[in-house]
Symmetry: C2
DNA sequence: TAGATTGTTAATCGATTAACAATC
DNA sequence: TAGATTGTTAATCGATTAACAATC
């Protein structure tokens, strides 16, 4: 949870920097996210002494520190597997690039989609995944294929030596223990929403 | 958190039922999700006495109870706003329909996309949103438009009397207090993954 | 120096887990 | 009756918050 909050703080600092704000207090940061100022200070202090007593935190300094902690100060080449609607949506998604993630190869099994470039990024047949991932030093893979092929893709990514996988397929997949695997469930939020609707209807 | 777990239990029970399993113990459920059996029992007992001592829980009975609690026993008509890549991906996403969510109207501002049907669902110009939402008794809206138009769409949905909004646009939007608003952040998981990659590189 | 705000300790709160009587 | 498993109470754990000395 602390890591997720650091990620949220970082985006806020990016915005503050754009707005030309020089310093920010834990109180001000907390208010933006309905958090407690002590929690903000604790989150930050866990990784170092970034603040200045009586002043607060220097926006660009803190931003740089957090980006470094989160690994967002560098570019991460990412492999996107599956170039259907969801894959395309993720490819064009603004949020990724902003934080240093660069989709540098796209893989799809449909020959009609392959062997061309989209915005300068090659779309390649899935069988070239192993070679390309290694050649490009890609450590992160995004799985955006149908449920049926998600496990096979994961196995391929694992064999190619990938370190982290973000899975959008609506199925639980298995990966070797040393690979960090995160499932993104697009429907669970909808289900919690319906709980509240059902409750107020009761 | 309890609600999210109930949602996960429900899917598991759906699977168990398909597999012809008649009863399941809190222990068995817990093992599937790396949870503690006491936690599973507590989650369930909070809403009623669904189990049988010495036996466990009857799969189809418990499934039905949980679906009722989560409002998944009925169909929820849903309005999808934005029919670009992300909108299309969500429209075809298998996970929604499985749980009783039926996208029953799609809205988009691009005239080229409007005034036709996709799998029997009408794609309509955004200006008809208010009328259609009311006519169809839609209470849930999914926002899948670019960040720039997300707030305007939200305002329209609010004016149309919608009760819950799931927002996929990468921007914080505001809605009246009586509307339940949930932001889905597609990139936060990627950012936590890079934290772990950066850490092991340190 | 006076005012502001940090970093950190101690107190509080809530969520998870262990334990067990109840009971199928 | 013996074995299994629930629902629930009490204990534990971890995360959040309050409070405050340190210090800019």
């Amino acid at each position: 949870m602390t890591i997720r909050r650091l990620s949220v703080y970082t985006r806020c600092l990016l915005q503050l920097e754009e707005d030309g704000v020089k310093t920010v207090s834990s109180q001000e940061l907390a208010e933006r996210f309905n958090l407690n100022s002590a929690q903000v200070r604790k989150d930050l202090a866990y990784f170092g002494e970034f603040g200045v007593r009586g002043i607060g935190y220097y926006v660009s300094g803190l931003k740089a520190e957090l980006q470094k902690i989160l690994g967002l100060h560098r570019e991460w080449p990412v492999a996107l597997v599956g170039f259907g609607n969801l894959g395309s949506a993720l490819f064009h998604y603004k949020g990724f690039a902003r934080q240093g993630f660069r989709i540098s190869a796209i893989f799809d099994d449909d020959p009609a989609k392959c062997n061309r470039e989209v915005n300068g990024v090659p779309v390649l047949p899935a069988r070239e995944l192993g070679r390309e991932v290694k050649a490009r030093g890609i450590q992160i893979g995004i799985v955006a294929v149908p449920a049926e092929s998600a496990q096979a893709v994961t196995d391929q990514l694992a064999a190619a030596g990938i370190k982290a996988i973000l899975n959008f397929a609506p199925v639980r997949i298995r990966a070797p223990r040393d690979i960090r695997l995160k499932d993104v469930d697009l429907s669970i939020e909808l289900e919690t929403l319906s709980f509240y609707l059902a409750k107020s209807a009761r």
